[in-house]
Symmetry: D3
């Protein structure tokens, strides 16, 4: 019955990667907590780099500095 | 003063349905908890079926199996 | 498959009221969106009035003013 | 190490405003709680006015009344 | 930079199990998305069975039926 | 109408600090986005250090290393 919410920046995550995240997190709940996978829910939120901050700085501007 | 977050897959939910969800949830807070509707906030998040998993499987692939 | 999170202050909510919230919200998903109740998850977070603010003010101090 | 999630309606928030929100909230964690900004994460969710309700009413219809 | 929130019922989860969840989810972000573990944040919310519903029913009463 | 959720570890945060967080975040919404403070909601979640991970490590064990 667990509910897991994964928040990541929307930087080209593929459907295959999302499927792996969902499988992997669900399996972890089974392995560690013996939860029933049938009612384990995983929701992935992809967030624009304009809307994510770390260290007080917007990720978009962090990425621009990394590129230059 | 309650805050309610509804997460659903983005499978053609209409504005009328969203209005009914918001009305219904707010009324429930009034009926059950005697909350003030004026400060009851409801936020609906519509999530791509690629980003929702149940039973370790992506909803997009569950939907594809249901169709075939 | 919806996931609903209800956040309310922890001001004496009874188990019966929680059961009514869970029943009511789940039924709303069935009525409005034709969702499967078996995989509809509802989580209620009860939050201390010290940790809830509205209008820039802590609910604890709003409640104290209402009492006096 | 704080995590802050800001939910607002998607009514023309500019990248400059988002940067100010991220800076301001992070600075608040430093000033009030002496937190390390380097691991303070801020995520802004912009929500359609169709998906936000207050007082049991959808914000889209509140905005339409305000305009007329 | 991912943020992962795990919500589970508070049914005797040990510190060792929590550590395994945190390690496992963080490693998954590294393996699947090549994320930096140093800024990957995991928060586990343990929720009373009175406050969790599935299928319109409170988990406390589901557990009572399973025992009897 | 914004909703802000602040998640921090439960390491002795005082009611005065919580009041400052609520005031400060609400004022930020007014200053940056011209939001109405009367319907701005702030919820603070205090999380056990056993339930918070960063860098794949539980904060409780990070704190123990810092002390020793």
């Amino acid at each position: 019955m667990p509910y897991i919410n994964i928040k990541i920046t929307d930087e080209g995550v593929t459907p295959e990667q999302k499927a792996k995240l969902i499988q992997g997190v669900t399996q972890l709940m089974v392995d560690v907590l013996h939860k029933n996978p049938a009612t384990t829910v995983v929701v992935i939120d992809e967030v624009s780099t304009d809307n994510w901050g770390i260290g007080g700085e917007v990720v978009t501007s962090i990425r621009n500095k990394q590129k230059s």
